[in-house]
Subunit: 483 residues, 2 copies
Amino acid sequence: MFKMELNKLFKPKSMAVVGISKKNPLSPGRIVMLKNEFEMQVKVYGIYPTGGEIEGIQLYERLDKLPEIPDLLVIAVGPDDTLDYIQQCADLNIPSAVIIGGGFAEIGIKGKKRQDKLEKIAFENNIAVLGPNCLGVYAPPLVDTIFLPTERITKPPKGSVALISQSGGVLVDQFFVKFKERNIGVSTAVSIGNRAVVDEVMLLEYFSKVDPETSNIAFYLEGFKEGRAREFLKFARESEDTVIMFFGGKTREGKVATLSHTASLAGNYKIQYSALRQNLVIQPHSERELLTSLKVFDVLSHRKNPFGDNVVTYGDVVILSVSGGHGVIAADMLKSYGLNRVDFTKEEKAKMKKLMNPVAREIASFNNPIDLTGSVLDTDIEDMIRYLSDIDRIECIILLLLPYPPNISFQIGRRIANVVASKKKPVVCFVPYVSKYEMIIESLELAYIPVFHSIKETVQAVSALKHRTRVDNVKKGNIFWEK
Amino acid sequence: MFKMELNKLFKPKSMAVVGISKKNPLSPGRIVMLKNEFEMQVKVYGIYPTGGEIEGIQLYERLDKLPEIPDLLVIAVGPDDTLDYIQQCADLNIPSAVIIGGGFAEIGIKGKKRQDKLEKIAFENNIAVLGPNCLGVYAPPLVDTIFLPTERITKPPKGSVALISQSGGVLVDQFFVKFKERNIGVSTAVSIGNRAVVDEVMLLEYFSKVDPETSNIAFYLEGFKEGRAREFLKFARESEDTVIMFFGGKTREGKVATLSHTASLAGNYKIQYSALRQNLVIQPHSERELLTSLKVFDVLSHRKNPFGDNVVTYGDVVILSVSGGHGVIAADMLKSYGLNRVDFTKEEKAKMKKLMNPVAREIASFNNPIDLTGSVLDTDIEDMIRYLSDIDRIECIILLLLPYPPNISFQIGRRIANVVASKKKPVVCFVPYVSKYEMIIESLELAYIPVFHSIKETVQAVSALKHRTRVDNVKKGNIFWEK
């Protein structure tokens, strides 16, 4: 299928780095060599014209003096020297390269000519080149070509999401920081820069068909590479993984910006939106919704998916809160996210009332949203979730859990987790992000119950579950009726 | 002006608490008595039918046995006993009360009758009653009637915002937690519950005209109290403070919820929106935008407002970033927040290029958004802000500051603060919320430069500055042209 060996790029056994400075400890090449030597599993070789060593690592004078042909070459030198090294990759049969530096298509005509040369060598010799003008690859525990010192950035945990970004800054900041905050795991993160050779289509195909660690493929692009949209759509439709796209540069103001920094033209957003939707690509409306979606997809992809075969098809939910106002705020968002309030019968309301402790019973409200009030006990919440789980027309419980009432204990998370484990009804939780409640959050997260720290994200998460069901149904050939 | 003494409610010298349990350490009355005794400055008296003591605090058998008439009575007993205590307030000339318990209008006809009685006594005797069915008052450092243990909640810092919420849960969670996270200060926080007596209009008038600590008055309501909208609008227009309103229960789904928990009908949102806008009430579209607005208003209200007399009138901004993708994402949001990109002349671009270090100069982009790239130095950012501050047609600088590039130092915040202090150009910053960068965030915040942790909030903040200018201009009688 692939002529280029993308697996060498993302799962290299060995790599070499060129562009190491002996004087400047912060030179990109030196940072990349040292972080891989000390922090990652790949075997690392440094190249330095006069040899010698840095921090005990032997440096080789030239690529052809290395004891083996490395799987990957990381190039952190000026643009003309870069071309020279790509030619060496061709001569020595080095199958993949990451080009960190700029000076190519993004700087105008002179750079465009360089990039043309680069493409010619790479395609003729099947070298999987990432970049130029990129951060490259973060594929734990093997390799990390990001030239920012590890102590300056935040790394996400390991998980099911392949993350591909046209902007390196967006990758390490908007994604890495927020993945970590939300406990969303990546299989591989890729900064594609000018995507002269390896582009979004190749990556979509590779992560869909080859990489067994990936179940969700998320893109931040500022437009498709010219002439590649159609193939992207084809692979998206065929993919067994969930494909998620978020575009930057959707507005005129944003486009002005994309022109300058990655040499691409942002496409016509509306046409793209429809085409992507038809081809089963999930498109969050905001960056926050993107993160929320990835969080729930990462959970669903897990072997320990806590919801079993239960899915959210129509978006029929109940909101279970211990604060009336939180219920109101969540209810206000339902319609705009395509979700519906399930109504209760008189009998059901009477049953729920009976389940509650005598004090809360008198002041609680059993409409939907349900407000259990500040007089709630752990066991009330547990019993309510158990009861609601058995009502078939409820597809998902939105639990707004405030641990402030004096009788809520630190066991509450574990208690909820146990009910969910036995009932497998989808439950999505809001818990405030306050360090003293970490134990509650952790006990839910350890059971793979998604926890969010804003009401909006909690509602968005259910919407993401619904989108995912639609896409899965079409992919499986199931007929799907919109209610 | 006021017949009721709201100052006794919010700035009591002494208070009494009824509804203390000797057996249950978590009874609301007991929590309120103890937290005020140990944590707040008000003089506290406990009432217990047989006297005695709790944790060394002497208890009095009846209100009329207290050594003084307290300014405030906190009532944490059942609804019928509550009425009895309100009558005692009338008999003993206790000028204010907080009723924590429910069992009034929110439970139906029986409760409505109780609430009618309560209102009659309170209005006839000018007792400033807060509630019933509320958390009451948090007015640091004097008084805190919130019956949730302090160690379970998060308290916001002291500042300029009077915060009034119809939902106690929303007050302590959505507001207290997020005020603390964002370093937004409150003067007084009020949970109004059923607002049988003290309502949004009285509070608006009190905080506008009487309380010297308040400059911004923020409401979370689920609709106006019946018959009170007109007066609210009148006082809002007259207020010298900035008035901010966020409604819950705007949708049909949300309304179902409000009916049950605070006995109010959410009004027609669209008509309200126009009326409030005409009367100079600022209305954020989301909870997050509300918080963002309050954050910048709190800064503007400070004696050390870092922007002096410079205001954002038309929303003309420059985006200054060290990551191209961040610039794109911010630029994409400008139009929808009523903001405009300022364009640069060739000469200006050439000057900016000259200011940069030789490496960054070649790869940076000087359109708007400006992308300084990962090769940026502290001094480049400093020089750029200085240069941009002198361009009159720029009203505000949106600074997207990622501290990941290896040459950004921990001094960067202080360096920026110094430039802003000398130029007084409005600058609003994005800095990722990562604990290792706390020093940078703190150095900016200490200089009252607003820092946000998402790109969206950073853009929203500039929009809030523009709204605030519009309102201030109309209030001052300045003519204001929309460009």
